[in-house]
């Protein structure tokens, strides 16, 4: 089994890598296996973890046995979950053309909940926290920061300010405003470059892992 698994892994790995050359039947086969297996896996996981464990057991909780084998009362049924079930069934009405319009109700519920929930969460964590964190003394507490730190603090303040100017929609990027916006894009490009450089190494390590499998575990060339 171990031997078969190794060869299967090697076959699938090279099938995916073959895409780098061009599209070919080997890649198509591997892709088909991947899509079928992964779609089936997630249906199973969602069914047992969400539908059964959260919904079915929530509405119809188990009765449990204690160590002596006596029936112990289960948890109380959570009838609120039935609302979720009803919304889910309304979603399935899409399959019936005449009443398909009712499937918009659960969509409306999800959109409303998502919008309402994230509105405050994003505002608090992305706007307020960032503003609060930017308000720091430029020359350090007690005026004892090194030149290095002072320059860094000034750069953070200027960069944040001009970065926000860049995102202004209701003013043309002209004149002094335009110059400030250009400084802002300068900072944004540094941010993107830093992110890029930061992730390159981790991407390489993923490839090293796969090469190690092919030449080490599968072909036994690396011991």
């Amino acid at each position: 089994m171990e031997h078969f698994a190794l060869w299967l892994g090697g076959f699938l790995t090279l099938g995916i890598f073959s895409f780098l050359y061009k599209d070919n039947p080997w890649y198509k086969l591997t892709e088909a296996i991947y899509v079928g297996i992964s779609a089936g896996y997630f249906v199973v996981v969602y069914f047992w973890d969400n539908f059964y464990s959260k919904f079915w057991v929530g509405v119809f909780p188990h009765k449990r046995l204690n160590e002596a084998g006596e029936l112990v009362a289960g948890v109380e049924p959570d009838y609120w979950l039935i609302i979720g079930g009803v919304l889910g069934l309304l979603m399935l009405m899409r399959l019936l053309p005449k009443v398909g319009w009712i499937s918009r109700w659960p969509l409306a519920f999800i959109v409303g909940a998502t919008a309402g929930l994230w509105l405050i969460n994003y505002f608090a964590s992305f706007v307020m926290v960032q503003i609060q964190n930017t308000v720091t003394p430029l020359f350090g507490a007690d005026y004892n920061a090194s030149l290095f730190v002072i320059v860094g603090n000034i750069v953070v303040a200027v960069g944040t300010f001009t970065g926000l100017i860049y995102f202004f929609f209701s003013k043309e990027h002209k004149g002094a405003f335009g110059s400030a916006a250009r400084v802002g894009i300068f900072f944004l490009m540094i941010t993107f470059g830093a992110s890029f450089g930061y992730t390159v190494m981790s991407r390489m390590s993923l490839l090293i892992g796969r090469i190690d499998f092919l030449f080490g575990d599968w072909l036994g060339m690396i011991r």
């Binding site: 249906v43 047992w48 993107f192 390489m204």
Partner: protein
């Protein structure tokens, strides 16, 4: 009614979720909504899974291009469904978790799914190289800045960076590549990240309000918005 009811639902639920943040008795609603979402998503899976099957069965029946691969997709899909829903080959039987060690589902996951996933991840190394080549041609000022910042950070995270500038005296240690990399991450990068995040937060507020107030309705299939 077909148009109005969904808009009213969006408005009511949206406002309730906003105020649940500030009204302690409503705090549990977030978790309840998350639970409802999970349940709705499961029912929606019938639509998605059904669509997957329909597409591939149609391809098979009409002998469209590459119809043979649809057999593989459907075969894999049904094998996983059978292995997981009926818990075929599960050492713990029907009552055990579907992902129990030794079950058919878990074996397929380990020997088929994981190698495929790892290899797709490994493709990133090749694509990052080609993206770097394109970005590093530095056709304009912005691309040059991006290039320089990426280069400094990249070098700074390797021993080569230290080797390159290790000779610089301690009084000018800020010019050593690893220190420059740290400074870039802690200063200009932080500034850019903050500006982007503040913008995102404000954008989410604006878009969420448009959705809740019913100004934006395209997702409901209402083109009058």
């Amino acid at each position: 009614m077909k148009r109005q009811v969904p808009i009213i639902i969006t408005f009511l639920i949206g406002m309730i979720m906003i105020f649940s943040f500030f009204i302690p008795p409503l705090e549990g609603l977030e978790q309840t909504c998350s639970l409802f979402f999970d349940v709705i998503a499961v029912f929606a899976f019938f639509l998605g899974g059904g669509n997957l099957m329909r597409i591939h069965v149609n391809k098979l029946r009409r002998r469209k291009k590459d119809w043979g691969f649809s057999i593989v997709t459907l075969g894999g899909f049904f094998i996983m469904l059978a292995a997981g829903l009926l818990k075929i080959g599960n050492p713990g039987g029907i009552a055990a978790s579907p992902t129990t060690e030794g079950s058919l589902l878990q074996e397929i996951f380990t020997y088929v799914f994981l190698p495929l996933q790892s290899t797709m991840y490994a493709l990133l190394a090749f694509f990052v190289a080609s993206a770097s080549y394109r970005a590093f041609r530095a056709k304009n000022r912005e691309a040059t800045i991006l290039l320089i910042a990426a280069f400094v950070i990249l070098l700074g995270r390797t021993p080569f960076g230290m080797l390159l500038t290790g000779w610089i005296p301690e009084s000018f240690s800020v010019l050593q590549v690893p220190n420059m990399a740290i400074w870039i991450m802690n200063s200009p990068n932080l500034a850019g990240q903050r500006a982007i995040m503040i913008g995102i937060g404000l954008g989410v507020i604006s878009m969420s309000l448009r959705l809740i107030l019913g100004i934006e309705r395209t997702y409901l299939g209402d083109e009058s918005a």
